[in-house]
């Protein structure tokens, strides 16, 4: 069984994403798709006091109508302000230096795409996730097409037999077609395991750097991956007519 995960590059994603990554034998960056405003490609949430705030990379031309691989950042000032924002967010966390070291290493990349990919790879390395994973970029795979058919073709190209996805995919996948092609679709059931946060109600939807800064080498213990088969995911339950 070869489990495949395909997602867009994202800036220091939330810990749930790393649960998905833990299950992947092959991880593929979808970098040749159009950038979607409001997505997690160039932004992530951080704790700020009792609230949360966005850490967002400003995009040249706001990223409109561009492939993710073609995105460029507007200026350089954001790197310093992000470091300051992150440091402020993590102040007092016992492993803040580990998180900032990862941040500095990632932010040393000049290419935005490489920076985004590193913002997944470096935390994954720290967490000891997937040293044996195959990593690919769709822009280099030569698989054409659109929508779910392309996703299926990409999975088949790497000999995948399980496709692990987040819940946003349910609205466009033809699950039966995956089944016929010998690929089982599974939806993530994120554990959302709490870790100690300084104030307010716990939220798991902040950057993995928050988890690393507060848990250090024990961070991985908060990652408990699980999936739900698509057959169970799609059941309806209405009896109203």
């Amino acid at each position: 069984m070869t489990a495949v995960v395909i997602t867009q590059p994202m800036l220091f994603p939330w810990p749930g994403f790393f649960e998905q990554l833990m299950l992947a034998d092959c991880y593929i960056y979808l970098d040749d798709t159009q950038f979607s405003k409001g997505s997690f490609t160039n932004r992530i949430q951080l704790l700020r006091g009792n609230d949360r705030c966005w850490m967002t990379i400003p995009l040249a031309g706001k990223g409109s109508f561009q492939m993710i691989s073609e995105l460029t950042a507007a200026g350089e000032d954001w790197k310093a302000s992000h470091r300051s924002l992150l440091r402020q967010s993590l102040l007092g966390a016992p492993y803040i230096d580990d998180a900032l070291a990862i941040f500095d290493s990632v932010y040393s990349h000049s290419s935005l795409l490489e920076l985004l990919i590193a913002s997944i790879e470096e935390p994954a390395r720290y967490l000891g996730i997937g040293a044996n994973r195959t990593i690919e970029k769709t822009s280099e795979m030569g698989v054409e097409g659109t929508s779910w058919q392309r996703v299926l073709d990409i999975v088949l190209k790497v000999s995948g037999t399980r496709y692990l996805t987040g819940h946003g995919a349910a609205n466009y996948l033809d699950h039966a077609a995956f089944e016929r092609a010998g690929v089982q679709v599974e939806y993530m059931n994120y554990s959302r395991t709490p870790w100690p946060q300084p104030v307010g109600t716990f939220t798991p939807y902040v950057s993995v750097l928050d988890l690393i800064a507060r848990m250090g080498p024990e961070a991985r213990s908060c990652l408990i991956p699980a999936t739900v088969a698509w057959q169970d995911f799609l059941k309806e339950e209405t009896v109203t007519s």
Binding site: D51, C53, N171, Y187, E236, T238, S241
Partner: protein
């Protein structure tokens, strides 16, 4: 004060009451209040009759007419085969009715008679008949049901005592006189003929309690009482084959049936009914407060099904609804109450609140798996908050 439709005991006051609008099972709004009464004599729950009930079902009720292929996914088998609701209903019907060779089967309140059609496909020896209170479905019967086996508005007198079996799927919850409805079917059956009824089980499907055109919410106790009053002996009461629904098989009795009442079952039904009413009352109160909080501001509603529609009925006039979010691709790219239905990932950036219209038992787990719905400036509003 209102009489119970099953046992006729007077019910002093409603257990739940909320002002107009009321939501119907076909997701339309009626300008009437919702009132739920619970009978402590037989465990039945009921709502006020909707205005012009005959006209509503004759010309206003349009279930499945808009789409040839409309059906709900009931389950998916491990090999990927999708089981649709009508297929499942047909299979349960065949199993529970155990029809003899060449039996005359009546689908009473048939609408498009999709379930009957599937029963006949599996059992071509069956002689299908249909009856409905609307003529709108007649085109769906053409070609596979003989004209003399079709009836609308009134069952023909010559049908009395004709049928080996009758089935009526998800109809009795709509009728103002359920005992009369059962008695009416009894007249059409042969002596010892079999009746299969299906209906929502409100105890397992609490959303049903506030559906305006579901004027009856049966419990096991009130269902047994109604069947006895209508002249039937219950042989099977199945609550597991179709989660959230009763499937009951009863045999026409040729002698009066004793209307015995199990006091424990009645007590359980009353307690559960009151518990469900408490939930909806608290939800309605909570939504009223949140509608005031977000008055004139932008908000989205998660779910274009029953719960989401009910939320809209409570907040739609106050907040500026940007969209309904729904995972079901069949509902996306359409409008619901005049608002677009979009994928959850497409939630508007400027929406300040997201009202969660999902079964409260599952809502938090479902929304918790969607990180894009958890962000600063977007308040999640839960029905059971």
């Amino acid at each position: 004060m209102t009489p119970c439709r099953v046992c006729s005991k007077e019910i002093v006051s409603p257990a739940y009451e909320t002002p107009a609008p009321a939501l119907t099972s076909i997701m339309t709004l009626l300008d009437i209040p919702t009132r739920v009464y619970i009978c402590d004599g037989c465990g039945h729950a009921q709502c006020d009759e909707i205005p012009d009930i005959k006209g509503f079902y004759d010309t206003g009720y349009r279930i499945s007419l808009s789409s040839e292929d409309h059906d709900q996914i009931f389950a998916v088998k491990p090999d990927g085969t999708v089981i649709y609701r009508t297929d499942h209903q047909a299979e349960i019907s065949r199993n529970l009715l155990a029809l003899s060779q060449g039996a005359k089967l009546l689908d009473y309140g048939a609408a498009k008679a999709t379930t009957l059609h599937k029963v006949v496909a599996a059992r071509p020896d069956i002689k299908p008949h249909v009856f409905d209170v609307s003529a709108d479905y007649a085109p769906a019967w053409e070609g596979w049901i003989a004209p003399e086996a079709q009836a609308t508005y009134e069952a023909p007198e010559e049908w009395a005592g004709r049928f080996d079996a009758a089935m009526s799927h998800f109809v009795i919850e709509h009728v103002a006189d359920p005992v009369g409805f059962i008695s009416g079917i009894r007249k059409l059956l042969k002596p010892h003929g079999t009746l299969l009824l299906s209906m929502p089980d409100v105890s397992a499907n609490p959303g049903d309690m506030t559906v305006a055109d579901h004027v009856n919410h049966f419990s096991e106790a009130s269902l047994r009482r109604a069947l006895a009053a209508g002249g039937f002996e219950v042989s099977v009461l199945d609550t597991t084959s179709f989660p959230g629904a009763f499937f009951v098989v009863a045999v026409r009795s040729e002698t009066p049936v004793k209307e015995e009442q199990d006091a424990t079952l009645v007590r359980q039904a009353v307690d559960r009914g009151l518990e469900i009413c408490d939930f909806w009352r608290a939800s309605a109160d909570g939504l009223e407060k949140q509608a005031a909080n977000f008055r004139g501001r932008k908000a989205a509603i998660y779910g274009a099904g029953f719960y989401g529609s009910w939320i809209f009925s409570r907040i739609g006039k106050d907040v500026e609804v940007t969209a309904f979010l729904d995972q079901n691709p069949n509902m996306q790219n359409a409008t619901h109450f005049g608002h677009p239905v979009t994928a959850p990932t497409a939630i508007a950036e400027d929406a300040e609140a997201l009202f969660i219209g999902l079964n409260p038992l599952k809502a938090r787990a479902a929304i918790g798996n969607m990180p894009y719905l958890h962000k600063p400036g977007l308040e999640l509003v839960w029905l059971d908050a």
